[in-house]
């Protein structure tokens, strides 16, 4: 499997308490465990099973993903923050790998 590559889109600066949009995507095949390869063998399940977002260390969002989610999962949500800080993103793979990114958000 090609190494998954996460990407995020966050505004560089936001207003305190005002909602802003966050877009995330990770390249990942999201093998369901039900497909077969060209030789007829089952392709083992391998998905991103959890997506987490923390703001200044505090959990802001946690999502369980299931095999029905398509390849290259795209997650978009809105959030609001009271003050400047660090947004951290984590994608947890079935194989135990964790892919992470972080981005500073400036308020004001």
């Amino acid at each position: 499997m090609a190494k998954p590559r996460p990407r995020i889109r966050v505004p560089k600066s936001v207003e305190a308490g005002a909602p802003f949009k966050v877009r995330t995507r990770i390249t990942h095949p999201m093998h369901t465990g039900l497909q077969r390869d060209r030789d007829g063998n089952i392709v083992p399940r391998q998905i991103v099973n959890r997506f987490r977002v923390r703001y200044n260390g505090e959990e802001a969002l946690s999502v369980d993903l299931e095999p029905a989610v398509s390849a290259d999962p795209y997650i978009e949500f809105e959030m609001a923050v009271p003050a400047s800080g660090l947004l951290e993103f984590e994608w947890v793979d079935d194989d135990g790998s964790v892919y992470s990114l972080s981005r500073k958000v400036a308020v004001g």
Binding site: M1, A2, R5, R7, R9, R23, R25, T27, P29, A71, D72
Partner: protein, 435 residues
Amino acid sequence: MNQGEGVMSQWKGNNGLSRRQVLATAVAASTALSAPAVLAQGRPRVVVVGGGAGGATAARYIARDSRGAVDVTLVEPTRAYYSCFFSNLYIGGFREYASIGHSYGALAANHGINVVHDWAVSVDRDKRTVGLAGGGSLSYDRLVLSPGIDFKEGSVAGWDLSQQNRMPHAYKAGSQTQLLKAQIEAMPEGGVYCMVAPPNPFRCPPGPYERISMVAHVLKQTNPTAKILIVDPKPKFSKQGLFEEGWQRHYAGMIERIGPDFGGDKVEVRPASMEVVIDGEVNKVDACNVIPAQQAGRIAALAGITNDAGWAPVVAHTMQSRADGNIHVLGDASQQGDMPKSGFSANSQAKVCAMAVRGALTDSKVYPARFSNTCWSLIATDDGVKVGASYEATDEKIAKTDGFISQTGESAEVRKATYEESLGWYSAISDDMFS
């Protein structure tokens, strides 16, 4: 191609006429039209600028269907034409380079067209002359401009024409295509190929994405851990569902497209360090194909017939410029309405234009304009898809009447047949332009 055959059958009905008789008829017709300028100079003169799918077809049809009654000069700087269509298949290893190259020899030998290998650098619309870079000028009764595209300066930050060897566009076929292919083949193991895709409107809407397919096809065989990155300012693209299905099927995990939702519209390239900066994030790449924003070939602007967007608006019935009825504009350079900018479209428009020019200069019969287009794309070996439509001329524009597109989930047999159909088309349009 039915329009052309229609014109031919009209002439076949006149097979008893010798060329001289046809000429005499033409001169008589000119007299009837009381066109002293034409009479004083002998045969009416048509100058065609640009020897691609629009210009070569127009020159050939005007010369052939007027049976020598119209003097046709084709101005084209290159001596061999390399078609942009099918150049992706050369990159993918499905065509030899020589097979997309064509000579202008038959246009001179078979149809008496005066082929001038030079750049047209000016148009004097009052005197009706075209200036050539090598000096001298050509006068015309009708001018056909089919100059294709040029790139908009500054549309991709960090890129200009001086960088085209380091980051090729390969969007005018020829040495640029060879260069890009060589750079893809020289990528290190696991390297990154990046394409900066153009904004609408541009030549060959599925072209960038067919190219991605062909690059993936090559890399899958020779460099399977390599990555393909598409930086795209557009939210959607032509045949998107078909391409994405094919990429997942043939090249899973290899291709990543960054649309405007992830900053694909905020890109800067750094050719010296081979970096692509996407909304502030630096990506190191090993081959980079920059396809900038486009506008009509420069001569159209120099003739003063382009609009603010850089294209030349035309009347759909005849492909005449809306700014000057003595000038017709074909193909990519024209702003005509619903047709995509494609070789097939240019060829189709050229036949309508040739008929209108022949009709105006020789007072021969013309028929209502009809247009058609099909764009085929190859995704992988024997996996061809297509999109196409028929069109008619309205006073406002070339208007789509009905269309068709390949479906996702089609059988291998259908996809193979679609690819084979495209091979037949390539051979037919090559003959239609150059035989």
